[in-house]
Symmetry: C2
Subunit: 231 residues, 2 copies
Amino acid sequence: MSQPLTIMPVIGIGEIQLGDDLAAVIYETTELLDGDVLVVTQKVVSKAEGRLVEIDPAVGHKPLVIEETVRVLRRRGDLIISETAQGFVCANAGIDLSNVESGKAALLPLDSDRSARGIRDALAHRFGVDVAVVISDTFGRPWRRGVTDVAIGCAGLRPIVDLRGTNDALGRELQVTEVAVVDEIASAAELVMGKADGVPVAVVRGIDPTWFGDGDVVADVVRAPGDDLFR
Amino acid sequence: MSQPLTIMPVIGIGEIQLGDDLAAVIYETTELLDGDVLVVTQKVVSKAEGRLVEIDPAVGHKPLVIEETVRVLRRRGDLIISETAQGFVCANAGIDLSNVESGKAALLPLDSDRSARGIRDALAHRFGVDVAVVISDTFGRPWRRGVTDVAIGCAGLRPIVDLRGTNDALGRELQVTEVAVVDEIASAAELVMGKADGVPVAVVRGIDPTWFGDGDVVADVVRAPGDDLFR
């Protein structure tokens, strides 16, 4: 592809609560075009889906982390690198206390690909706009400092675009080039969201149309532990 | 920040050879504005810097991988997960055979932050345009399938933006939020480059102006082995 890409923050979403109709709120706040990719941060999805839970002040959020962790990969001080039920590897099972009301914690959605499909389907069937949806979250990574946003769910998008076997610019066959475009889209969107500005949604416009299609983050991006050189 | 971001592929760079004046080629091909971030793929930097080497047909590129590896983290079949002299952890010491003429391999630049500074300084001093520069490369990662582009060098940009201690949207103090914007910028740029189209440069326009400043990828992003839970 060679067209420009535009990434727009969506301003004015406001505080999201349990039961809010996220697709409707987004549709009313955003000018969406067919072929856009809508990136929605995990936090508002978790809030809309009721994944905010009370923290017991006597023990803090640690028991929640343990509850949401199916396997502990590493532990250092207060930090646990967890594998979650969906297979994500992240700090403290993805439990987040920022941008959440005091005394509560936001757990990851139970099925973040389903969350993405729900938003996509609602936008398509109720509002007639055909967009892909990515649910993003902020994860650390080994070997490199700093966090980046990755996808924890998607709908209407091929999360990994396989360019294996297509020719490179010099006509030679490419080696492995399975690009995780879904994660690159999540990272790109984060650049306009900031962390403290309360911008939980962004629109990415101009994605290669051949990248639209079917796929799940959990099925297609999460690597099975047996295939992983670092588990 | 809340302004839109635009990511534009730079078409027409052509084949880059040893000794090419990369800054001049880019300047002639691109309409750059002060405050842009120029993302340049490792491949063209390596070519301009003479980091293309002959592959001995009798033994293939394996000896080159060993030579460029200071520590082997994992090995499976033909795949080596290397730590390079600069501290990058990547497959086969970052040696790449795609988009390189047959019989040759592209090694990583010797000092990719210096490469970025060279391009930035040339654009500033000779052409009068003040842009940040990111050198990008395509790396795999544990736990998730597919490759994404990350930064291996930068100049004129704070690679990690530290939002620790600023307030979140609900007025509470944020937890850890050191965002590796340099990697998110590299990933965003990759979305317009494709793999087979020979687009080695992209321009990212609209980055938060407070992110410009000083910093190196190697000094600021590469995690010291002793701080790394997975080494």
